[in-house]
Subunit: 256 residues, 2 copies
């Protein structure tokens, strides 16, 4: 283990804070990087991007230039079928990474669309790959992040393949709650940045079904709905909808 002088510690603390602000803690914060590593990373992450609501970050078939980390706002990634059917593949909140699907073929396989005013960090992929070679911890972290994406999607497969409409929405809300908590936001107040249609396209339901479920949950005292503002008024009862399977369904087990 290398000795750590005071200068290094300070610098490290500084850059970690920067990284936290930049919402990239997913990628680099957990690492034990030395100062020069940090510089390299920092150089890579200079570029910013801002999107307005409905702007595309990238489209299906675009060449992979970069991965993106959400700094503020939110996006959806959407898979399309030529006959117009769409599947929302993911929602991306601050601190989360987009674009991993493009690594295999050098093309993005989904459209990525901002759901609101959104800020991102651009991570040029070529540079990231090269840097990962030099910084073992970064390589490791990158692999972990990709693996986590796989696990997350496996949960979604289970949701789409085996769960009722009611369960799907309960999972969805609890999952959003959990992700907010990680950002040090209140767990029981959710401001949805996506439409009912988006939620439906994510959960494999019709938008009317989603709307009805919001109403039913409200009638049952689980939530309080005011447009896109949701209060989780009875988390316990909400979890009971999921029976004993919370851990799998909300992603608790594999989220960390």
């Amino acid at each position: 283990m290398p000795a750590s002088g005071k200068a290094e510690t300070v610098s490290l603390a500084k850059i970690k804070i920067a990284c936290k602000q930049c919402a990239l803690r997913e990628l680099c914060l957990p690492l034990g990087l030395d100062e020069s590593d940090m510089k390299e990373l920092d150089n890579m992450l200079k570029r910013r991007r801002t999107l307005k609501k409905r702007d595309y970050l990238y489209r299906i078939g675009d060449s992979l230039h970069a991965l993106y980390a959400v700094k503020a706002g939110s996006l959806k990634t959407v898979g399309l079928m030529e006959d117009g059917r769409v599947q929302v593949v993911g929602f991306h909140l601050p601190s989360e990474l987009l674009g991993l699907d493009a690594i295999s073929s050098d093309k993005y396989t989904c459209d990525a669309v901002a759901l609101e005013e959104t800020e991102l960090c651009e991570i040029p992929y070529q540079a990231l790959e090269e840097t990962a070679r030099e910084i073992p911890g970064l390589q490791r972290q990158l692999l972990r992040i990709m693996s986590r994406a796989i696990v997350q999607e496996e949960h979604q497969l289970m949701l789409l393949g085996k769960m009722t409409a009611e369960e799907r929405l309960a999972v969805y809300l609890l999952n959003l709650s959990k992700r907010q908590e990680r950002l040090d936001l209140p767990a029981d107040t959710i401001r949805l940045s996506m439409s009912r249609q988006d939620i439906a396209d994510y959960l494999g339901l019709a938008l009317e079904t989603v709307s009805r479920l919001f109403s039913r949950f409200q009638d049952d005292g689980l939530i309080s709905v005011s447009g896109r503002q949701i209060e989780l008024t009875d988390m316990l009862k909400m979890r009971q909808i999921l029976g004993q399977c919370e851990s799998i369904k909300t992603g608790k087990k594999c989220a960390e």
Copy 2:
């Protein structure tokens, strides 16, 4: 570009053949490796494993020791819900890799079960990660493989979220056909190693629905069914079920 003497070429050819037999071409064949790299890889891949039908390769919660490449036979990976519901997350044929989900948390998140007599190569993960540091091409390939898994699961999300039962089975059969082709097996003859129940649990359907669809496809002249032996007698008509979306649905677009 380094000069390549005769000795190196021969050795490289030899190991590539070994790798092909070992069904690991996914991982190392596309790389430009030099001789010492090859040795290192080869050392890593020494261990073999053989499973009988219904044997578990690993279970949910087991610690990640290794990734596995299927050499012969087939497996399913299964996600479980405590109340007994199951979702088959994937089927794994020769040349395909299992265990990527475990990298994020050091635990496998699915059960992996052999569907028949199955042979595998064990790839100790720790060693793989370290080797990937030293061989840039390997790191790159590993990232690509993981990205491809993500893309594949995204297709499955679309299938489960947006496709009819009929379309799901058509996609499934065409996908199997394509994977067989890649192994230099006939594209129009499929011997299913999985039960109707497994297929149903993969496609998010009831087993009766799957059974009925096989019958209907046969009545419509698309396939000829004899238990688990399927002949694709009219691929064209089968593709027409999918409308214009073949490329997405059969994985053609992103498989390579």
